[in-house]
Symmetry: C2
Subunit: 200 residues, 2 copies
């Protein structure tokens, strides 16, 4: 017996090991779970994978993932079509939707400027954003990128670019996370919270 499982099991472990956040031990655990699960559950998982590749595309307007393009958000007449919130990834749209505080439109860049990974402005969905701003119906663009180096670089790039278009450009507030301890905040976050202080 070789130090690998019999054909099909090893192929399943290998396939799961390639997914993000799953190591060899986790993949083995999942493979045996699938082996022990009922036929229906395993078939559902396999079908869900095949289906997502077949059905899901990117919205031609905002770049978010969807099954019909334009996506339901871009077509929704109850949403405020004068504000666009720019995010890096489709999952960021979901994070902002969960706040229930935002009712405008979105624009998904598909990443952030990252010279180390060879991602420049031309690799992002920026041309389409400028096109959407062309007809004057949008009055504000909210830059909601990740508060890390790549996100900051992209925010700086976009805010310069959009200031030329003459549209109000805002960004998410930096500060202390709600429920956190002041004692454990890093200097940069605490500095931002200070400089962004508001009347109580």
């Amino acid at each position: 017996m070789a130090l690998a499982y019999d054909g099909a099991i090893q192929r399943l472990i290998d396939a799961f090991s390639k997914l993000p956040g799953i190591g060899p031990k986790g993949a083995q655990r999942i493979a045996f779970y699938i082996l022990g699960s009922d036929e229906r559950e395993a078939a559902d998982l396999a079908d869900a994978i095949t289906e997502v590749k077949a059905k899901v595309k990117f919205c031609e307007v905002c770049g978010n993932v969807c099954e019909a393009s334009p996506c339901p958000v871009c077509l929704d007449p109850r949403r405020d079509h004068s504000i666009i919130c720019v995010v890096e990834e489709p999952k960021d749209v979901m994070s902002i939707e969960r706040t229930r505080e935002y009712h405008g439109l979105y624009h998904v860049l598909g990443g952030a400027i990252n010279p180390m990974a060879n991602v420049g402005p031309n690799d992002l969905n920026i041309a389409k954003l400028l096109e959407r701003l062309g007809d004057g119906s949008v009055t504000e663009v909210i830059l909601a990128l990740d508060p890390n180096i790549e996100g900051e670089a992209t925010t700086t790039y976009l805010s310069r670019l959009l200031s030329q278009v003459g549209i109000k450009v805002t960004r998410l507030a930096s500060g202390l996370p709600v429920g956190s301890d002041l004692e454990y905040a890093d200097e940069i976050t605490l500095g931002r919270a200070l400089s962004g202080r508001r009347e109580a």
Copy 2:
């Protein structure tokens, strides 16, 4: 827009969330990874899941997972057919194979005695083990169960049962893990290491 993704994406996230060790965030990350991966990789994963359910069965002799029953280990004439190592799960067979120290046969119980989960001796693959010991060709049974409460209970049960058959029954040594610190060993492990001491 609802607070869930469009159809197919949400179904994929839900399917992955059911797997052990994957939470909602991890499932979302994997779903978007699959969405961004090439067609081939996604098809490979879906096929591997379908294939494992179709092809893999349990060896009629030892109870291990395999594609052909009896499994290659049970049929291998180069292995020592006079020793059987009893383990809880198929993955334990792989762990012991990796040591390259064992060349006998295996017997997979499919679990351990666990009254809290309603698993008794009759739920385990024990009758088949007694059957294998019937013809007198086996001279030693190694009990290699997990060193936890359920494993210990099963070890005690099996060693009593097999002593009636009149076969040599051994169990894995308890003691300090190699590379560990004596200072951090728990009392039970250190106690076992002391009582099991050998001449240096």
